[in-house]
Point group: D2
Chain length 297, copies 4
């Protein structure tokens, strides 16, 4: 777990790796992120999505398999007790914790658009971030990352305005947090402009179009359920190339792979994915362990 | 605005004041809190209690008159936008900001008992603290104090168990925060046991019993509405003695005087109180400016 | 603009009645819509929009001035106690009661779009209707009408799909209720197709475009605040013609005039409007008293 | 325990009927309560307790096994879509539908006390009743019964004041509804005083004290999990006698047996109970089919 404060030795080794891998070296003599591509990957899942007496997903089984847990913050799901319990469970598994930020929509589980103004959304996101950070802090933990949830995630992916609100909230709260966003999305671009660290995210159980978007769920072949196939697609994602629904090949820069924890067979798939990644020589690590801070550049 | 890191000069001056005032000096050579009694007092009010389109109270007018603003955190009142706006307004008036923590009861404005378990309450209070701290932080501000609201305030005042939950939440979040609690209450005692700084609170517009509790609102003479009378009672409170409903005199150690911002004439009363206090030679200051940290002892 | 689904016989008789002037009577001895145009009008206002400790608008003063009260049903505003109190107050003033149906958005006061599915919206509207009807029933009252609120009102006005959901909910709940909708809007058309009674609504304090839509609030002259001007525009609306922002004249069939109860001067304006209408010989009556049921046609 | 308000004639006829055995008929051709005791029983369960994306309990499997479904009304659980779906499912199984009324406490699933005033509780219960009735009505169904939920159920069982609020809400909404309440409880007495029909309720999977109360869950033997034992206790309850935890025998007048739908093995237990009851010659019927209205007496 080297960063922050990378040693000289580490930086030299990176330069060598860059040349060998045909990777870039930027103006500051810093290795580009692409170098790590295909060698390290984070696995994230949405956890802590119960509410009061309601449970949701197989948190207990999923936690040790993943490296980053997206914890619901009471907007689309989660309550203060569940939030704290989820952080405690993450600590026990050495899993990094992030804020899973949603619209104010418990009834719709954050999957519905709610037409907040920029000011309302900004304030509400900061509110959620602070609430989770405080609960994590009460257990001696702190946040690694942020991931927008549901409708907010999808809408921000294609909207520079919405992404700007999300990024502003994160920057003003703690600009060392990593933002998880769809690989190649507008959110990634906006976050990089603000020098936020970004983990580009891929979905191993979803088919991709040639444009790099997910095939909508209602189309045939959109969701892959065979554990073996999901696992081998996870390896392809980690290596940066995935076949598209159209039959071509899509290049993606994937830092984290999202797994679902609430579907039948979810745990079995997750374990298979992790096993296959490690068998393929890909290191499964928390995103913050290998994502270079743009601020240190 | 001397503390933290009190200068030698400041400490020496305090020793002199102690001797002159017949006040105590503790083992650590620190002036006891009693010394400042009758000389300095904080004025607090509950602000930011609107919700969405709903307004509540005369925040704009009250803010410059008081020294500590209790900001609702979305439980009994307040929403993320109002919370942030209230902190911004406080910054403009050099008013200290505190978290006004309530039960999850927007409908009842936090005035109803909600039977939370200790774990639920603890987590929910930490949640509120974090949310407000984050919004304050986004404006470069930080919290000075915490005040329980409504039913929680009243119930904690007489319950060591409930006070313990409140104090634990504060200690685990930030043990440098000042707790505002009814003068002489169980909450004060429990907080002092945990070495939390406490501002003992008095109500200038309410009659007191010989036991030091407030005369219930439904009894005649319970609420004082005449601005002059409220102001002179504020001076008495700040000096540590108030006549009781029974006709005797009650000694109280008052660090902060609570004023209401939502009643007719509230602003006029508040201005009168502040004026009278200052005319009487009592310095009106934020609680944290004169409350010695027990941790530094 | 003759509404669909009227028999030849009915239309002929109306013609005769028109010649005889202001006293038309249909088969059931009910005055017909067309005849009453320009002679009778309903006045409605949104009331009961507080929540818990929050008040909103001048319900007490507005109630006796209007003939139809739109009562919030707990979605965008209102709670069970306020709903019941508002119905009680309406009964005391002989004001008709209607359900003011909103999106699930207390924070946004129903002014924000919430992206409900048709099934969710339908069920939620029926839920609100039943809740208010039950509270009205507990006082011996029943509902006269339904008016969508805020974002739902505006969105439905231009959407046949959304209007269909609103109308279906009303029809399935009680197809004798009158729907209040913007004069000439899609909602009016969809409701008439379902043979719902519709009160076409006009705004006396808002400027109209030549297309019959309201001039957006952020444009100059959009909102009229002078009581005299609002009152004379109310008379024009009741008579079916209003000057447009562009300088022309717009013909509208207005059954009910919406007044605001939450702005400065609202009560004074409302009283002036009512007075002016009555002085001009226009009878101010509840919508259901002069809107013929299409079912009985 | 002869209920009040029965004529001499009625009681005499019942005596005759008793001699003839299990087929009593009252003036209206309805079987009387007394006759059916030990021969007919209703089975109820709490269903529709999900919320949005959250599921709770095995509604689909439980519905055909029971005769009365208690449907959550959006207070402690349930949303408008789930409420309607649950009613639809009940219609398909010929199961009677009732309103399961709770405190406003989604987070606590209605298991926490919320300190509502009588007026607040009354209005909130009427609100819930109307909402469910409207959704049922949209499917052509109507309500058979009402059952308080969780903390409200338990608190009302021992409080005449709280029971009075519940009964007043029901009477004012629809005094033909049957109230489900713990056998022998204060709620039963208060409801009978108001001439409400009451189904006295027993729990086949819970141990009883000699006083007729349930043994608290945290005591050994409080909850019975063996399907065979639960089933034979159900038969005993239906026949009016159950062994107590102390070793004696408790006489109870049971009209309805409550089964849980959310525990492991719930469905298997439910089926076993129903089978055993029917094998024992006890008719399993909806409560309203054998509970004589006191109003018709």
């Amino acid at each position: 777990m080297p960063p922050p404060g990378r040693s000289e030795k580490f930086i030299q080794r990176l330069r060598t790796v860059c040349l060998l891998a045909g990777g870039g070296v930027d103006e500051q003599g810093q290795p580009s992120e692409e170098v790590s591509m295909g060698q390290r990957v984070d696995i994230n899942a949405d956890l802590g999505e119960g509410y009061g007496a309601y449970t949701f997903g197989m948190d207990e089984e999923m936690m040790p398999v993943i490296t980053s847990a997206n914890v619901a913050c009471g907007a689309h799901a989660g309550d203060p007790v569940i939030m704290r319990d989820t952080v405690r469970r993450a600590l026990q598994s050495d899993t990094a914790v992030g804020a899973h930020l949603g619209y104010p929509d418990l009834w719709g589980f954050g999957r519905r658009h709610v037409d907040l103004s920029a000011e309302q959304l900004y304030s509400f996101l900061v509110y959620q971030l602070g609430a989770l950070q405080a609960l994590a802090g009460s257990l001696g933990a702190s946040l690694q990352h942020v991931k927008p949830h549901g409708a907010l995630y999808n809408e921000a992916a294609g909207s520079a305005d919405l992404s700007a609100v999300v990024c502003d909230a994160i920057c003003d709260f703690d600009d060392n947090l990593v933002l998880f966003a769809p690989a190649g999305s507008t959110t990634v671009r906006v976050a990089r402009d603000r020098r936020l660290r970004v983990a580009e995210e891929g979905f191993a159980d979803r088919a991709y179009t040639a444009q790099g978007t997910l095939v909508p769920r209602d189309q045939p072949g959109a969701v892959i359920q065979d554990p073996g196939e999901v696992a081998s697609r996870a390896v392809m994602l980690a290596r940066g190339e995935i076949p598209t629904a159209e039959g071509g090949t899509l290049k993606l820069n994937i830092d984290t792979i999202c797994l679902h924890g609430d579907t039948p067979g979810a745990v079995r798939i997750a374990r298979r994915v992790r096993h296959e990644l490690e068998e393929s020589g890909i290191k499964v690590q928390t995103a913050s362990s290998f994502l270079r801070s743009q601020h240190s550049g």
